[in-house]
């Protein structure tokens, strides 16, 4: 795999630039903006497990919120951001915050301690209730970047969005690997979902076409690092 290691040295698959801003794609699916000391995570979908129990009587393990927050804790410890931005759909539904266990609530408060915390509105949690700290906004402008939940076709360069839960599939020699991924074309970046129970939408789905009319690169979250994969190597469905 000589080529792959060369690639690692020359391209540095995980560092990108978007609208003049330096970005670093973390293998957890978080986005690090070193220039702003800001960490962005998208689609946490906290309390998704309990939403299922309430709605359909399916008792998924009620540990997804804890799991997601633990992963977030690990990234925050590592990078020590001055600001954390949750890019929408932070809770699976508007009543999610009410159902949160006291222990998990305390964990959110501890993570917010000493740093700015922004909840961007999503479609699942457009009206996040009070009591989970931080501040709320529809979109956030950071330098040349615009952070919003749902990507808009034809939006200005520098859009960073979530919502679509992109994932990519690579098939080779009778094996296939399916992973969450970032997807970008140098003008726009769509982030993977960060939540423990969040599924994925294949980047070859038609939904992505108007967003990336001139093609894209997917950045798949591997076990050890992030891998930059061209469209040609990505399987459908």
């Amino acid at each position: 795999m000589a080529l792959a290691s060369r690639l690692e040295k020359t391209v540095k698959g995980t560092d990108l630039s978007l609208a003049g801003e330096a970005l670093s794609l973390d293998r957890t699916g978080a986005l690090w903006l070193p220039g702003h000391r800001t960490l962005v995570v998208s689609d946490l979908h906290l309390e998704k497990g309990s939403a299922y129990a309430a709605r359909s009587g399916q008792f998924l393990p009620p540990y997804d919120t804890r799991e997601t927050l633990s992963l977030l804790h690990e990234v925050i410890q590592r990078l020590d951001p001055a600001c954390v931005v949750a890019l929408g759909d932070s809770f699976h539904d508007a009543r999610g915050p009410e159902r949160m266990e006291p222990g998990d609530r305390a964990m959110v408060a501890a993570l917010q301690e000493g740093r700015d915390w922004v909840w961007i509105a999503g479609n699942h949690d457009a009206a996040v209730s009070e009591g989970v700290g931080g501040r709320y906004c529809e979109t956030l402008a950071l330098g040349g970047l615009t952070l919003r939940h749902e990507p808009r076709p034809g939006a200005e360069a520098g859009e960073v969005a979530g919502h679509l839960h992109p994932c990519g599939k690579v098939s080779m020699r009778g094996r296939s690997v399916r992973r969450r991924c970032f997807i970008g074309d140098g003008r726009r970046l769509v982030m993977p979902a960060f939540g423990a129970y969040t599924g994925g939408l294949n980047v070859r789905d038609a939904v992505f076409e108007p967003l990336f009319p001139d093609g894209f690169t997917a950045y798949l979250l591997g076990d050890g690092r992030v891998f930059a994969i061209g469209r040609a190597m990505l399987g459908k469905a």
Binding site: R66, E101, V177, T217, M233, K236
Partner: protein, 842 residues
């Protein structure tokens, strides 16, 4: 015994046909009339089914109709079998003019008929285990079954070895409570140790609790149903097909034997050609048609074909229009398909009982011998065929292991019981432990399952207010509401099909290669989604008797075109065999290898091959494990020959690879077949063994089943698949039905994600325990691996060789044929990433 033992219309009916009732038919009737349950063991063609129904028909003939409720319940593993039996019962009932009604109840029975059956049940109802569970969960179950007198369980040997058997055992326990007078009749093919089946049929007495001073009381003998054995029956004429040429050392296709098989088809009236996998069926079908200059009607039958196509083949067979059917296990059981005068089994027999069952498909008359050929695909399969021939000669059988009832099945059953009526925990517990598979279930474990059913069984009590079953002030549990009961009904059953996608023939647009019309052609059948996932457009594979080219996935359909003539299918898929070699047959194979005096009975090419191995390296003794290390083409290999079946070997391979990794020996991958494994890497294990005596012994130490196994299970894809099945059966996630579309990214939550979260936060959760219990015997065969490691302790023979030995060649040939393990996801991704760079540099 004279037929005068039968009441009048029956004796006359037998006599009019020139028949007399067989001894086992009368013996079974006597037992059942005495109010006892019984197991009838009889070979195919012995009139097993009639024997099972005779006591009921005699009783019903003597009871005035009108005031009767359901008298006899018949449960079969196959829907088609129930329908077929209904047809077969018509002859005696109409022939004798008996006032007896017979109906079937399957998934195909229309709703109005189901409702009517509850109100006005027939005398005899024929159904499947799943439908029985649904009936028992019905609010009317108590009155519906109150008058039940007999339960007939057909093909019991095939049912009890699975989770369906667990479910049926619980249903039987409930029936015993609703109808204490009912007798159970089990019908089984020949089994070596029938006691497990005899226990299954009757209530087990719970072991007494210890004396007050703590001294445990002696465990009572298990309760057994009576045993009735049909004796006699002609010995089958079974032979190994000799094609007069040397067989390859690996591969299962038996390509070389196809002309001989075709010749057999020409010489016989109707031939059943059994194979072990769907892919092998496709291959064999295609090869036979390539040779079919006489255009004999040869058909194909396997579980993935479109149902209507299968029905057509079955009808043609029954009408005697076919000369041969190439088929898989779908035709192992049950129905009489016309006048089969020869059975050909292609590939390894894998188990003595399986081969007996298949041979029995030829000639359904007990007094005439069935005729069959075994066709080995390679030299090792010759060994296996020899062992199977010996086993059939001695009428020796594999023993189905008695199962420990699965907790996920119990969870499903408990919810069903709550749907039927409020239950009192001690009563339900007593009922459940009377079922043989659950006889050892502790009260605590029972309570844990009830807790799981109620709120998910989580240490974090998050779902109390959403509970599915609620405990009332009277201490009884009741189902929460009609929606929960509906959910139960939708998710009943233990058979979790891997998700299938339709294979649709698309049309290639003229002049535009690579463009395929998404809709258009007909549906050829269904293939596993997992298999489909691994295909990339342009890949060719065999399906429905054709070489197809994969074009892409469109709306959950696998779109294909016909590949050009002469195209070889590129994707081998499951070229290996699906069933692992049975323990019983494996031991016989080892015994043959170990004893050169046995070799006279082997084909010459095989004995010569074994002699070469003895000269070059060594042949292991019956209980030994041979390990060889040797260099080849710049890599170092380790091979081992436990003969424990592919599943156990794959697990062994994963664990050994981890150990070698830790010892700094840099393994790169491994391959496994039914007989052994090969591991390769950049460093020499033999050299390390020379420096550190005892290294090889330590490598195969039993302690690999401790932490190494745990660590691997955590991330094993097979473990995740096992967990998914448990989660569906236990109702944690809902079943996906064929045809139901995935409607977007947030509707279904991947069970892999659930598995990861659960094992990190509550590793002792019921469903994880259930999945581990399955792994022990299922896809990972850990139990068997453990038995092997104990067997070989102190009996490892290591040979450091300068080149590959004859024995090792066989497993080396699997490399590249079977999927290579030990290759991580990141390696695949890195390779795909490299392609991007190449593109950029181009």
């Amino acid at each position: 015994m004279p037929s005068s033992d039968l009441p009048r219309p029956f004796a006359d009916w037998f006599a009019a046909r020139g028949w007399s009732p067989r001894p086992h038919q009368l013996a079974l009737m006597a037992t059942v009339q005495a109010g006892r349950s019984a197991l009838l063991v009889a070979p195919t063609g012995a009139g097993k089914t009639l024997a099972g129904f005779l006591p009921s028909l005699v009783e019903l003939a003597a009871t005035p109709p009108g005031k009767r409720g359901l008298h006899t319940l018949y449960v079969s593993p196959l829907k088609a079998l129930a329908v077929d039996i209904a047809r077969n019962l018509e002859a005696p009932i109409q022939g004798m003019g008996l006032p007896v009604t017979v109906e079937t109840r399957t998934g195909d029975t229309p709703a109005h008929k189901r409702a009517r059956q509850i109100q006005r049940p027939p005398d005899i109802l024929l159904t499947t285990p799943e439908q029985l569970s649904l009936l028992l969960a019905h609010r009317e179950a108590e009155s519906f079954f109150a008058g039940l007198r007999t339960v007939v369980l057909d093909e019991l040997h095939a049912l009890v070895t699975s989770k369906r058997g667990d479910l049926l055992s619980l249903a039987l326990a409930r029936l015993r409570r609703l109808a204490p007078e009912a007798r159970a009749i089990g019908l089984s093919a020949t089994v070596r140790e029938p006691d497990a089946l005899r226990q299954y049929l009757v209530a087990q007495t719970p072991p007494p609790s210890a004396e007050a001073d703590g001294t445990p009381l002696p465990v009572p003998l298990p309760d057994l149903a009576d045993l009735v054995v049909a004796t006699g029956g002609a010995r089958p004429e079974l032979r190994m097909l000799d094609i007069g040429r040397t067989l390859p050392l690996a591969g299962h296709t038996a390509r070389h034997a196809m002309p001989a098989i075709y010749a057999l088809i020409r010489q016989h009236r109707t031939v059943l050609v059994f194979v072990n996998t769907r892919l092998q069926a496709e291959y064999t079908f295609q090869e036979l048609w390539r040779l079919n200059d006489d255009t004999l009607p040869i058909a194909l039958h396997h579980g993935s074909l479109d149902a209507s196509q299968r029905r057509r083949v079955e009808a043609a067979m029954a009408a005697g229009q076919l000369r041969a059917i190439v088929c898989t296990a779908t035709l192992d059981l049950g129905i009489d398909w016309g006048d089969v005068d020869l059975v050909v089994n292609v590939g390894a027999p894998k188990g003595a009982s399986r081969i007996m069952q298949r041979i029995g498909r030829a000639n359904h008359r007990m007094d005439e011998p069935s005729k069959a050929y075994l066709v080995p695909g390679n030299r090792f399969e010759m060994l296996e065929c020899r062992a199977a021939l010996d086993a059939v000669e001695e009428a020796a059988q594999d023993t189905p292991d008695a199962r420990i009832g699965a907790p996920d099945v119990l969870a499903q059953h408990i919810l069903g019981m709550a749907c039927a009526d409020a239950f009192d925990p001690p009563d339900l517990y007593a009922e459940i432990v009377s079922a043989a598979p659950y006889a050892t279930l502790s009260w605590e474990d029972f309570e844990a399952v009830v807790d799981y059913v109620a709120t998910g069984g989580y240490a974090l009590r998050a779902y109390e207010r959403f509970a599915k079953i609620l405990r009332g002030a009277d201490g009884k549990w009741r189902v929460r509401d009609a929606r929960v009961a509906q959910q139960y009904r939708m998710n009943i059953g233990t058979i979790i099909e891997s998700t299938h996608v339709k294979v649709r023939l698309g049309r290639q647009l003229r002049g535009k290669p690579g463009t395929v019309l998404p809709r258009g052609g007909r549906v050829l059948g269904e293939i596993e989604e997992d298999f489909c996932e691994t295909l990339t457009p342009g890949d060719t594979f065999l399906f429905a008797g054709e070489v197809l080219r994969f074009e892409g996935l469109a709306e959950d359909e696998c779109l294909v075109t016909r590949a050009g003539p002469g195209t070889d299918p590129a994707i081998p898929s499951y070229a290996g065999s699906k069933f692992p070699l049975s323990t019983f047959l494996a031991a016989r194979v080892r015994a043959i290898i170990a004893d050169p005096f046995e070799w006279d009975r082997l084909p010459r090419q095989l004995s010569e091959y074994l002699a070469q191995q003895r000269r070059h390296s060594v042949l292991p003794g019956e209980r030994d494990l041979l390990v060889e290390t040797f260099p080849r083409a710049g890599r170092h290999y380790l091979t081992a020959f436990p003969f424990e079946g592919r599943l156990a070997h794959q697990t062994l391979g994963m664990l050994l690879t981890r150990r070698l990794e830790r010892a700094g020996l840099r393994p790169l991958g491994f391959a496994a077949n039914d007989y052994g494994i090969a591991i390769w890497g950049t460093r020499d294990v033999g050299e390390r063994a020379a420096l550190a005596p005892g290294f090889v012994e330590a490598l195969f130490d039993e302690d690999m089943l401790g932490d190494d196994l745990e660590a691997w299970l955590d991330e094993s894809a097979m473990m995740k698949r096992t967990f998914r099945q448990c989660a569906v059966i236990a109702g944690l996630i809902e079943r996906r039905f064929p045809g139901q579309k995935k409607t977007g990214r947030q509707v279904t939550i991947s069970t892999d994600l659930i598995y990861d979260v659960l094992r990190r936060h509550q590793p002792d959760h019921l469903l994880l325990r259930a999945a581990r219990q399955d792994a022990a015997t299922g896809l990972l065969d850990v139990t068997r691996l453990g038995m092997m490691l104990r067997r070989i302790r102190g009996r490892i023979i290591h040979r450091s060789l300068d080149r590959v030995s004859p024995l090792s060649v066989s497993v080396m040939l699997e490399i590249g044929r079977e999927r290579v393990y030990g290759e991580g996801a990141d390696e695949i991704l890195a390779e795909a990433e490299a392609a991007l760079l190449e593109e950029a540099l181009a």
